[in-house]
Symmetry: C2
Subunit: 180 residues, 2 copies
């Protein structure tokens, strides 16, 4: 089954952006590449606010790097745009539809509010988190409160230069009827 | 100079306790020991709420393991108690006083509100964080918002069994007049 992986960079105090949406505190050291992750992905899903923050940073240019991008919005009219598709579907409906098609990993790019919706619906199968060694003190949280407890298994823990820490987790779901 | 180290366990979404103060989600695997850390410490500092949560868990018994414990409270009358000392001093005043005496590391045990006060006053020189592989979805945050940005250096990242991740950071302070 195609997996949904939440993949994001965040501060050590759990923020994906400053209160104004800027992400100047995040960095990508020379010895880390997202290439291997990109190769495992063929669909990306993000929230409308994440799209807008991204467009602001690039001056309105959207590059999907050949990955099919869905932007989830309850307010924008659904349909194809330049490089992405707006959808009004629920996370459950979109993921269920994508899982019916053969393909690679579905990348949940954020932001936090959409991550919460995905966690509520228990749609997150894995996480790949890049943690920068700074406490920014305030911002937009990666994991805003308001979803049920979710257990994971630590799969990889690797440090890169400048203290970037990349953590990989896999969702552990207890089988119905099992004791633990 | 004696260092102040923030040492705590937390969930992957940054909580040190559930909303009711319980910490059942935290665990200490067999292959991890706090012994080496304890040996480097001779003073512990905690907030009143952390003390109360601890006393609740142990049924009112307080064991300081031979470490001098300060409990910071603006409401309780200062003075010696059974195993700890209540102080009404500010974090700055207490740390400044302790730093005048020779000794080992000062362990900041939490909770989050006191950690924020210490971070505001830039008193945290290092962190030793134990991160358990679970998102609990709501609780008492390790790093509540409201302090200025603080840079750290990643010193150690080590995984133990059951996915406990222990991260060690050192505070990086830019020297006045330096360009970066």
């Amino acid at each position: 089954m195609r997996k949904v992986v939440l993949g994001l960079g965040m501060s050590l105090d759990g923020y994906i952006a400053r209160p104004d949406g800027s992400v100047d505190f995040l960095f990508m050291p020379k010895d880390y590449s997202m290439g291997p992750f990109f190769k495992t992905v063929d669909v990306a899903v993000m929230g409308r606010k994440t799209l807008e923050a991204g467009l602001k940073m690039t001056g309105g240019k959207f590059d999907n790097y050949g990955i099919k991008c869905y932007v989830m919005s309850r307010s924008e009219p659904p349909g194809e745009r330049d490089g992405y598709e707006i959808t009004g579907k629920t996370p459950e409906a979109l993921v269920s539809e994508l899982r019916k098609q053969p393909g690679k990993i579905i990348w949940m790019m954020g932001g936090g509010e959409l991550a919460r919706d995905f966690l509520k619906a228990d749609l997150i199968d894995g996480m790949e988190l890049g943690i920068v060694p700074v406490l920014i003190g305030e911002g937009i949280p990666m994991f805003p409160a308001g979803f049920p407890q979710r257990e994971f298994k630590l799969v990889e823990n690797k440090a890169y230069s400048k203290g970037l820490l990349v953590l990989k987790y896999e969702r552990v779901r207890k089988k119905a009827g099992s004791k633990k």
